[in-house]
């Protein structure tokens, strides 16, 4: 069985020549919950965009064994759901229902199937009653959950999330942790919040200045005080670590 994600010596430079990612090699197995940790500007978001085929660099990127090429981009995006940092960018339709239905409709599903998928996705994130609401009527926590529902309705095998805990209060963050921890999909979560990462991930990859610094067991990496502080991070609190 191919890996969920396979990057082989992937490098990427921004148009101004700044190196964003350098010689990244990473394999993520199906079902893993990987936390992509690192300070601001480490290249986490860029790496997630590379996995979804939004940026082209040198090296190879394979999603479920499928090499990212123009001709199989549609298949790749059915396999991999990509949730952006700002939910307002993710929710662009006039109502939540339309937003969650957007992906399944583009996949060419029948109207009845689309309705079932939308209902299932909204139920999973706890927004079943909000289907007819416009996204600007939702709270920050609801917007985040709605953004995840837009991905879940496409039933991808892999989900990438960019700073999903941003702007969330503790209650909404805990709800999100419960939701993400319960998902059967392979999760790749980019975050600077170690407590959040520790509560969900079983594997952590530390990225800094576009390079992989450490990769392995989340508990081991995130409890290494020296490694974490050296790269502008912190060790998770005891409560979060106990969840690991």
């Amino acid at each position: 069985m191919p890996n969920a994600i396979e990057l082989k010596n992937f490098s990427y430079k921004y148009p101004d020549g700044t190196v964003a990612l350098s010689e990244i090699s990473l394999s993520v197995e199906h079902g893993q919950k990987l936390a992509l940790i690192g300070p601001n500007g480490a290249g986490k978001s860029t790496l997630l965009l590379a996995m979804a085929g939004f940026i082209k660099g040198t090296g190879e990127v394979l999603v479920d064994g499928l090499q990212i090429k123009k001709k199989n981009l549609k298949t790749v995006r059915t396999l991999l759901g990509c949730c952006l940092e700002n939910p307002d960018d993710q929710l662009f339709m006039p109502t939540l229902f339309d937003d969650v239905a957007f992906g399944p409709l583009n996949m060419g599903l029948e109207p009845e199937q689309v309705k079932t998928r939308v209902a299932d996705a909204l139920r999973t994130v706890g927004l079943a009653e909000m289907a007819d609401k416009p996204p600007h009527h939702l709270s920050a926590g609801q917007k985040r959950a709605a953004a995840i529902a837009t991905i879940l309705s496409m039933t991808p095998k892999i989900i990438t999330l960019d700073e999903p805990d941003g702007n969330l209060d503790p209650r909404n963050r805990n709800n999100l942790i419960k939701l993400l921890a319960g998902l059967p999909q392979t999760l790749i979560i980019a975050t600077c919040n170690m407590d959040f990462a520790a509560a969900i991930a079983d594997r952590a990859t530390l990225l800094d200045k576009g390079r992989i610094i450490a990769d392995g067991d989340a508990k081991k990496i995130m409890s290494d005080y020296r490694l974490m502080t050296e790269h502008g991070l912190e060790v998770p609190s005891k409560k979060s670590k106990s969840r690991l």
Binding site: K74, D89, F92, N106, K115, D132
Partner: protein, 258 residues
């Protein structure tokens, strides 16, 4: 941040809310055309036409205060136009109201008719957007044959206008927090230009992110939606009532117009 949305009552439930968006749109469109085409000396006739949107607002449980507040908000544009009429048309006319009569000018008559038409058509428009969800209105317009591209753009406009307003508020607040004294018109204009520029750059940034979000969900240029609209008996009844109202008033005022 919460905004006073013009469509904040569109999620209520009333017989008017339950009507098909296409029927409501067509009725408001014809009604507006009829009111606009009324002659310039027809204030009393205008008052009769106002009964239509007034009834819709009442049946739709839309507070009249809300409707008039929004009419006031957009009135400055029309006020300028209306108040300029008495300045260039001073033809004397005698105005009669029951046993009373007084001298006025045609310019003033025209001014009041412009304001009257504005209030009546705005009432109809507010009645439409307050009793119809914007998404239903868009679906209705699409089913009526409006180009998909225009529908998509209207959808984005509705979705992001509030995000943009939020951002503008944040920028203004950040400016106010550091504004200790008046820097003079030239410097203030320069700062305002920088603020608009910042808003523009962030809008482009947002547009790029939305493009990524759309592509990530399989968007390939063709727009698919699930239409939920259906014409029912109550829609036909509403259409018939509106047509009778407009036609009845026309027949009633026809002799007056001649």
């Amino acid at each position: 941040m919460h905004h006073a949305h013009i469509d904040k009552f569109s999620y209520q439930d009333s017989p008017i809310h339950r009507l098909d968006s296409r029927v409501k749109f067509i009725v408001v469109l014809i009604f507006t055309a009829v009111v606009i085409s009324l002659p310039r000396t027809s204030l009393s006739i205008l008052a009769c036409y106002a009964v239509g949107p007034f009834a819709i607002l009442v049946l739709g449980k839309i507070p009249l205060k809300f409707a008039f507040k929004h009419i006031l908000l957009v009135s400055p544009f029309v006020l300028v136009l209306a108040l300029s009429c008495p300045l260039y048309d001073k033809t004397p006319v005698t105005v009669a109201f029951g046993p009373f009569s007084w001298q006025s000018s045609l310019g003033w008559m025209r001014c009041f008719v412009i304001l009257g038409k504005f209030v009546v058509t705005m009432m109809a428009l507010i009645a439409l957007v307050s009793t119809t969800r914007f998404s239903d209105l868009l679906t209705g317009l699409q089913r009526l044959g409006l180009p998909k591209l225009l529908i998509i753009q209207l959808g984005f406009l509705y979705r992001y206008i509030f995000v943009l307003i939020d951002r503008a508020h944040h920028i203004l607040r950040a400016r106010a927090a550091r504004s200790m004294r008046n820097l003079g018109l030239k410097a203030e204009l320069k700062i305002a230009a920088a603020m608009v520029g910042s808003l523009f750059v962030r809008s482009i940034d947002t547009a790029e992110h939305i493009n990524i979000a759309m592509q990530a969900r399989g968007f390939d240029g063709s727009w698919h939606t699930l239409s939920k609209l259906r014409i029912r008996r109550r829609d036909l009844l509403f259409l018939l009532t509106a047509a009778s109202f407009m036609l009845g008033l026309y027949l009633l005022v026809k002799p007056v117009l001649q």
